[in-house]
Structure formats: structure tokens, C-alpha cells
């Protein structure tokens, strides 16, 4: 089983759309896939039309390993399940500190699911708290969407130095460009600079900024399903290929 986290300390960068589409693409190959919605906003739950409700809340989620399995719901797609978020997940970091080995808690919670799933995608909340540290610990790869702007670049640098300081292996991080607008000069310049510094940790496919992706909020389905021939769907398919190559490399 591989645990893949979609993460950034900045919000609104395309984490959830990436998690939803990549998880769907993983499941279409027949791999048993789970998407865990850790973000209290519950956006990925929303995209799959699942109510954001975790029975027993953040406390129950952290306390008993069994609870996770009990809360999993089947999506409308074969081989793809979701563990919905809950509003109480906003307190995850406070609740986590009460546990021994609080930074390894998530890994422990996921362990019973190892047998059942081939891929687990974590849709993470944007912060750099102990929740993030749990994600870095539990994930085989942390996938970071980067909007090629100065602010986003700065956030990425902060994340990289944080990972270094906490001694997480550098190759755990995989970045890709998200919400790219090719007509913007700044985006292109920024991409050039970042490509050089990220090197192999950058996945070649960039996800363009497209209205159709934003529309996922109304269709409530992965764009790969609603518009399989669209540019956006193609981009996510290429990104999934890149990711698979990176995983096997």
C-alpha cells in the first residue's frame, strides 16, 4: 500500500481537486483506493456527495483505529472509498498533543487499512502544525501543488526548510505546478526558476488554470468523469502517470 498526501501550507492551491482526480484515476486501474478527508472544510467529501460527518468526531478518529474503518463510505465509483471529514477535525492538532508519540499517530491509525487498500490519498488541511507532521510521517510521498507566484514560491521554500529541519527525507516531497496561466509572464518566469531548484522533485505535468476545474464544485464529480476528453482531464491523467513513474523509480 502507498500513502500519498496532497498537501500545502497554503490554501486554495488545488490540493483537493488533485486528490480527488488522482484517487479516482488510481481506482480505475482496479487498485483499491481510499481518500481520507482530513480537512475540516470537507471539500473532497463534498465532491463525492458524501456528508462531512465522522461519527465520534476528531476525538474518536484519533482514539480508536477501528473507528476509521467504521466511517468509510463507498463512493459512486468502483474500488474507490472515502473517509469523510468532520467539522471537529479543526481541533485535530490540539487533540493530537494528548497522545504519546503524537507525531506518529496517523501512521498507526492507517495501519489496519494496509491490507484493504492499494492506495490511500490524504487530503490535508493547509497548516504547518502537528497534523502536518503526522502527514509527513505517514505518507510515502507528499504531493505539493505549487501556483507559480512569488507568494506560493515563498510558502514552498518555508515548507522545504521545515522538512529539512525536521529531518524528513528530501525525496518524500513531489511538487507539481497548479493553476498555471501560461499567458502570465510572472507564471512562466516563476516556473523556470522553480524547475531549476526542484529538479527531480518536480513532476513534469502542470495543471492549467481552467474554469472547467472550478466547475467541479457544481458537478460534484471528478472532472476525469464529467469531461473525460477535456484538457483538464488530460492534465490530471498525465500527472497520474508522472506520479506512478516517480513511485516506481
Amino acid at each position: 500500500m502507498k500513502v500519498l498526501a496532497c498537501y500545502h501550507l497554503k490554501g486554495g492551491v488545488g490540493k483537493t481537486t488533485a486528490a480527488v482526480n488522482l484517487a479516482y484515476l488510481a481506482s480505475t486501474s482496479g487498485a483499491k483506493t481510499l481518500i481520507c478527508d482530513l480537512d475540516p472544510q470537507g471539500a473532497s467529501s463534498y465532491y463525492f456527495r458524501v456528508r462531512p460527518k465522522f461519527v465520534s468526531g476528531a476525538k474518536g478518529f484519533l482514539k480508536k483505529r477501528k473507528n476509521m474503518s467504521k466511517n468509510i463510505k463507498g463512493t459512486d465509483f468502483d474500488h474507490l472509498d472515502i473517509m469523510p471529514a468532520d467539522l471537529s477535525f479543526r481541533h485535530l492538532d490540539i487533540k493530537l498533543t494528548r497522545f504519546k508519540r503524537s507525531k506518529q499517530r496517523l501512521r498507526k491509525l492507517l495501519s489496519p487499512l494496509r491490507k484493504e487498500y492499494d492506495f490511500i490519498f490524504l487530503d490535508c488541511p493547509p497548516n504547518l502544525t502537528v497534523v502536518a507532521e503526522n502527514v509527513f510521517d505517514a505518507a510515502d510521498r507528499v504531493i505539493v501543488p505549487v501556483i507559480p507566484t512569488t507568494l506560493s514560491q515563498r510558502a514552498l521554500e518555508q515548507l522545504l526548510s521545515f522538512l529539512k529541519r525536521k529531518k524528513y527525507p528530501a525525496k518524500k516531497l513531489l511538487a507539481f505546478f497548479s493553476m498555471v496561466e501560461k499567458r502570465k509572464k510572472l507564471h512562466l518566469e516563476c516556473m523556470r526558476e522553480l524547475s531549476a531548484s526542484l529538479d527531480a522533485r518536480l513532476l513534469p505535468t502542470a495543471i492549467p488554470y481552467l474554469a472547467s476545474i472550478e466547475k467541479m464544485g457544481t458537478t460534484r464529480e471528478p472532472i476525469v468523469v464529467t469531461a473525460p476528453q477535456s484538457a483538464a482531464a488530460n492534465a490530471y491523467r498525465n500527472l497520474w502517470h508522472d506520479l506512478q513513474a516517480a513511485l516506481s523509480g
Partner: protein, 516 residues
Amino acid sequence: MQIQKRFSVPEATLLQHILDVIKTQFSVQKEPLVRKIQHFYDTFDWRLFNKSLVLQTDGTDVSLGSYVDDLVLETVPCKKLPKFVWDLPDSPLKKRLAPIVEMRALLPLFALRKRTTPNRILNEDAKTVVYLDFENISIKQAGKSLLPLPLTVSLRPVRGYETEAARVADLLEKTGLQQATSSSFAAALQETGFDTQRYSSKLNVLLQPDQRSDEAAKQIFRFLLDIIRKNEQGVLQDTDTEFLHDFRVAIRRTRSGLSQIKDVFAETVTEKFKKEFATIGKASNQLRDLDVYLLDADRFRARLPEHMSDDISPLFVQLQKMRQSALQDVRKFVQSDTYCNTLIDWQAFLNQPPANPAAAANAERPIATVARERINRRYQSLLKKGRRIDANSEDAQLHALRIDGKKLRYLLEFFASLFPAQQLGILLKQLKKLQDNLGQFQDLCVQEMELQQFIDSISLRQRGARKTIAAIGCLIGAIDREKWQVRKQFDHIFKDFASSKNKALFAELLSNQKEE
């Protein structure tokens, strides 16, 4: 665990009514028709069926499902199901299947042509909470026209939405639908009549305690003859090694019965068939020996140091060649007049009414009495022979004890229906422990000897001959060590078998038969 429910629909016109009833509480979204052909498989002795499992292929995947509810348990991408489990791609499915199916061939049963119209039942968020499949299924069998099964509606729950599934099931029941029995496979199996021909090599003969002994003996022999007949085809076609095995066991049991159930038939008859069945048994000795070697190839390899495990390959190539010619001999024999006439004569004799006046001393006596005498005699003899064995005993003595054990075991199995099942079960288990130990010892003795003979047949001029000889030498060493370990265990296993507790149990069994 998700349970899938199936309902039978007596008339196609009811389908619309069903949807209308569900639409009072949920929205329904109809999906396009799915066409599928599923081919089903099992072993000759129904190993999967007996574990409530169903093996199927649809041209892209092989999947293992539950007999009870059509639920798929494991799937592996594989276009064509191989005949043997070891040729499947490595997967959880293979891991689960292997210990059940073992060396038996996976044989086609029938195919189902499925035309399914799935309906998504949606909640207020337009999320699918349960699937309702309208299924139109027909059975496809080689050389027969399509046989349609009654229409069904299957309820497929979605994980985490069990409450909704229960609500839909309630609605279906309210429309008056009856729950259909288990899976579509089960329904088809019933329809094709396959289950009436269920095969098992296990002895299952129901005798009456006061039955005439010659009649009871014939009943046992008829059962065994049936097993012999049922396995002939598989032996001739070499479908898998177990056809020959079951065939041989039935013949051995017949021979054992002829000499163990004494004085029930005229002596000339008994002697004639004893001789003829001995010939039939001998005809396949070599083939079975070779099968055992080849089935055990991996275990032989595992006994060698890793760098030598390939050096033994020429042995198996040679054995495979020998097997081909041994198989030809057996085929020829099973089609020969000698074999066919024996079986025809035997069948004719078994179907004759009991001789009047009785042909032998025990013929008219009640079978329960004769059974008790025979079992007691064999048991006492086994104890006596076993007690004589000590650390200095010859291998042959252990071999003789094993043969005696086998005779006792066969008697207990022949007459099982005359004794309380629980007590008999305990004794058979104890006896089996002893037999396993003796059998293992015997096999190792034979293998050691035969491997030595094989070395003599290798020409030093052959390529890699020295390496092969070294590997076989190594194997002989390993087998010898194992043999002595098994031998060492004999003492306490026999002591257990001959314990006073077991003796008391035997005494009780023999005095206290099942009363009618």
C-alpha cells in the same frame, strides 16, 4: 460484511412497479445495460463448492466469490483460467485458492449469460446509496440450448449506507417479492442438476446392524465400484493426478474388503476377485509413485542448499519422461480386456441376489456382529505387532504394522454407520496419527532407496552429471536424517495410540453399537 440480497421476480411487468415503489422515497437513475458472460469452474470433487466458494472468469479477470450471495471476495486480472492453481498469477486470490484446490484440475461447469440493468438509488445529495440490479440470466452449457433462469432483482449495498440498503430491502419486501435463494450460481447449479452428481471419494455407506453380512459387503463393494468407474475417464485423460489416486484407493479398499470381511462369499469367488484386483492395483503402481515424486518436486528442492536446488532438475526431467511411458501403460491397461472383464464380472456378481443357501459361514449372520469381530481381531493384532517394535526393529516391521493399520482403518470406515460417530471419530483420528507417522517413514525409506538406484542409472558422460549426483547425494542425506526423526517419533505416537484410554474407548465401541 456486506450482504447482497436477491429477489425473484415472477413477471417482467413487475419491474416498473418495483421502481415506482422505490421512487416514493428515493430518486432512481437507470444505467445502461451490461452484457457479461461468466464461466464457472470447480474441481471434480467439488472442493470450492464444499467451501461455499465460486470461481469464475469473464474473459478479463478471474474472481473468487461467495456461493451465498454473489459477492466477489478476490479478483486477479487473467484472461484465461489455467487448469492448475500454480499457473495463476501470484495474488491474494491464488494464495486463498491454492490450499483448497491443491493439485486438482479446475474444470469448467457451465457459463451464465448475464444481462444486467443497474439502477442507482440516490439520496437527497444525489449520492448513490444502493444499487438495484435487474438481472436476466441464462445458463449456457456445451451442446445445449440456452436455459433461462427466473428474472431477479439484486440489491447491492454501498459501504457506509447500510441503513438505506435496509430501507430499500423493506420496500421490495412490501411489494410482495420473495427473497431468492442465494447466488445466481447456486440457482444455476440447481437448475442444471449438477448437485445431484456430487462426487466425494469418502466412504459413505449406510448399513443396518441386522443386515445379512453378504448383502452389506456387496453394498460396500458397489459403492467402491462406483468410485472406480467415476474416476476412469479422468485417469484415461490424465486430467489431474487425483483421479488415479482415488481410483487406486477404491481398488485397494476393495481388495482389503475382500480379505477382511471374511467368509461372506463363496471362497472361489473371493479368491478370483482378490487375484484380479491385485493385478489391477499393480498396473498403476509405477505411475502413482512418479506422481508423488513430481508433486513433491518443490519439497525435494527445498531440502537442498539453495545453490544446488537447480542441479536436481535432470532428475525431474527424467521422471517426467518415465511418467509419460507409465501413463501409456496405465491407459492401455484400463482399456484392456483383463480390466474390463474383471469389472463387468464384479458388477454382475454384486448385483446378484444373496446366495441361497448361504455360500459361506458368515454370509447370513448380522453385519454388526461380523464387523465387531473383525475390527476387534485387527485391533488386537495391531497392538501386538506394535508392542514388539523397539529401537532395533527392522524397517520391514514398521512397514507390516502400517499395512495392519490400514486394514483396521478401512474396516472402521466400511462399518462407520454401525457405530456412534463421535467415538469412532476419536479413534479414527488417533489411528490416522499413527498411520501418518508410519506412512511418512515408509515413503522416506522408499525414496532413499530409489534415489540410490537413480544414481546408478546416470551416465558420467552426461552434461552436469557430477553436479546432479552430488545434489542427489545431498538429498539422500537430508531424507535419511528426516527418516530417523520420524522413526524417533514413532514410540510416543504408538504409546498414545495404545493408551489405556484408547483401549477403553475401543472396548466401548465394540460392545456398544448404535441401536436402531
